[in-house]
């Protein structure tokens, strides 16, 4: 068996929430002076008994709890889990962007981490200059970059524009160049965070291919992604992280179904009032969801081709008498996170004035989805603002069962495609002697 190149031992990371100090020297001095004279701290929070105590009880958030695992040379490990589970924290610690609170990570060899593509790119510099700068930021020496320069340019497919400032590049070109640099790092250990979410499909395939090559050369890859298909495609082993702990560790084909299953049981319950892996300011929040058929009966799933079904959600305010003007979006994605459908109130020119607990009914006139499992996100946006009220990713699972979309033709669940439309195929023979139409 190949040797261990990363050993993570009892790793924990705690974040302190809220204030550590008051954030300004002035306030700290003021508090210090008051304490010195025996007065009450003018900056103490009203009702708080004791800051020390508060810190220890409420103000800490454990992003990682006592995590241990080994990685052997040449393994490609996928790290999966929900938003806020601790995946990114783990990568940040391995990448040395931040230090752990306790525990150690021992590493053999050079680590290159790609938490973002194009870190440090300067818009005014040319592609060529940025290759050198970005390469150096990622830990390459100038000589090394010179050696690989042609390879990088070829991989990025932007040969013609290499001496153009990158501010003139399209976003696709920018990403290609950035990934090309990263792909040629040749580290012993490569740490990648979801960078594949960008770029067109063809380039994504190229990147995945490159990552596979990297591991064939005996290198080790740690890969964080929400895209199950990419993880399945690339990784031999998967670490499932949940609430800061390793929930499962094993071969990809065993862990991913388990993950999706867990997802299903968690999400299909349809009640997510208690979920805290959500974003937004929280004046109003999504509470639960249920599905109804054309009779208004609550159902567990829809059928392909079913008409006049609805997805209904319950919304509740944080405090009574709260009124907001909001837009709402429901997106339906495949299990790899690829967005298929979005139902936007904005596109219908609908703005809702919410006042007190309310329900929203997304009426779907006909189901164009093929049988399978789909993941839905719910978004409650601020009308005329940026920060949403509530955004729940992976809010619930939408299950579609086989049904009759086309007359007399039942869809099956064995097909890989996701979408179906009304169609027919006609046959007509061209009479002899006539030219092609």
């Amino acid at each position: 068996m190949s040797s261990v190149v990363i050993r993570v031992e009892n790793l924990s990371k705690e974040y302190r929430l809220g204030t550590i100090s008051h954030g300004t020297l002035y306030r700290d001095l003021q508090s210090g002076w008051a304490k010195f004279r025996g007065n009450e701290d003018p900056n103490a929070r009203i009702g708080s008994i004791n800051r020390e105590q508060l810190n220890s009880i409420n103000d800490r958030f454990c992003a990682l709890k006592d995590v241990s695992f080994d990685v052997r040379q040449g393994e490609i490990i996928g790290i999966i889990g929900r938003n806020g589970a601790g995946k990114s924290t783990l990568l940040k610690i391995i990448s040395r962007v931040t230090a752990p609170t306790s525990g150690t990570i021992k590493i053999k060899g050079r680590v290159a981490s790609l938490l973002e593509v194009g870190t440090g790119f300067h818009p005014e510099l040319t592609g060529r200059e940025n290759i050198f700068l970005n390469g150096a930021i990622l830990g390459m020496q100038t000589g090394e970059i010179e050696q690989k320069f042609d390879e990088i340019v070829n991989f990025s497919e932007i040969n013609k524009f290499i001496d153009t400032p990158v501010k003139r590049y399209s976003s696709g070109m920018y990403v290609r160049l950035a990934f090309a640099v990263a792909a040629h790092l040749d580290p012993d250990i490569l740490v990648v965070d979801e960078v594949l979410a960008v770029g067109d499909a063809q380039f994504q395939d190229k990147c995945l291919g490159k990552m596979k090559d990297v591991s064939k050369g005996g290198r080790t890859v740690l890969f964080v992604s929400h895209q199950m298909s990419a993880v399945e495609n690339l990784c031999s082993r998967v670490l499932l992280i949940d609430t800061g702990k390793i929930a499962a560790d094993g071969p990809t084909r065993e862990i991913i179904p388990k993950y999706l299953q867990k997802f299903k049981t968690d999400a299909i319950a349809g009640d997510f009032a208690d979920r805290n892996d959500r974003e937004g300011t929280g004046e109003f929040r999504f509470q639960k969801v249920w599905l109804t058929d054309n009779q208004g009966n609550i159902v567990d799933y829809f059928h392909t081709g079913e008409r006049l079904v609805a997805i209904q959600v319950l919304l509740a305010p944080k405090h009574d008498n709260m009124e907001i003007r909001a837009i709402v979006t429901l997106t339906i994605n495949d299990v790899s996170g690829f967005r298929l459908i979005a139902l936007r109130s904005e596109d219908l020119d609908q703005i809702f004035t919410l006042n007190g607990p309310s329900t929203l009914k997304f009426q779907i006139h006909r189901i164009h989805l093929m049988p399978g499992i789909y993941i839905c996100n719910l978004f409650l946006g601020r009308w005329g603002g940026v920060e949403p009220y509530d955004f729940v990713e992976n809010a619930f699972i939408l299950k579609i069962e086989p049904g009759f979309f086309l007359e007399n033709c039942k869809t099956t669940s064995f097909q890989p495609e996701k979408i179906i439309v009304d169609y027919s195929i006609d046959y007509e023979q061209i009479p002899k002697g006539l030219k092609d139409p």
Binding site: I105, L133, I137
Partner: protein, 285 residues
Amino acid sequence: MTSSDDDSNWTMEIRSRSGWFDIDLSELWRYRDLILLFVRRDFVAYYKQTVLGPLWFLLQPLFSTIVFTVIFSNIAHISTDGLPPFLFYMSGTVAWTYFASCMTQTSNTFITNAGIFGKVYFPRLVVPVAVVISNLITFAIQFGLFLVFLASFYLTGSTIQPNVWLLLVPLLLVQMAALGLGMGILISSMTTKYRDLTFALGFGVQLWMYATPIVYPLSQIPAKWQWLFALNPMTAIIETFRYAFLGSGAIQPWVLGVSLAMTILILALGIVLFSHVEKTFMDTI
């Protein structure tokens, strides 16, 4: 977890932020290419964005010098040790500008680079060191201007006497860089906790300038306060710089010694604090 055969040869160990002296300066040397590339980036980006690039660098000391000459010499009649006021102020301004820009531009290292620091690891000191070197280019331009004026005054028979102390000028430059860097990283480490320091800095730099013999000569300070000025490390630097080019000043070797000691102390303190903060500042910013 039990394979003990490969428990040796780890190239790196990541652990919690522990001691205060967990500092690895050799790493900085390994990243020297990056330092140079940052310098290049700053330089290229600056010149691509401004039409008047280098001209602006020339105007700035020129204006300060003219303003100082009018206000402090012509109106307030403050002594310049018998030197031509224009050269007197310009020598001080050019040297001070280098120090001050090193300090102010490195003092926001963590805040302005939070984006890049949050995504990739490299020794954080690379950034302030690159800033100090970038500023050397600006200094060279302004220093060139000073030399032009110096030569023209010299050739028209002014009383200035450039002397053997000129040999110290490169060392003074290194000392200013070290002091500016030390102060800058000290402040930047503290701004991660105290944001209001950034506002205090602009004001502080002004005050510090007037506490340094730039618009007045050290010889004007009463003997009983000389020790206080000696504590300001910039005093010796400016006085020596001026003395080397113009041949008049009141610098004493022990003051230079104190200044050097202060510089080393501030730089060391800066590096210690900076290295301590860099490991977890991403969590607080």
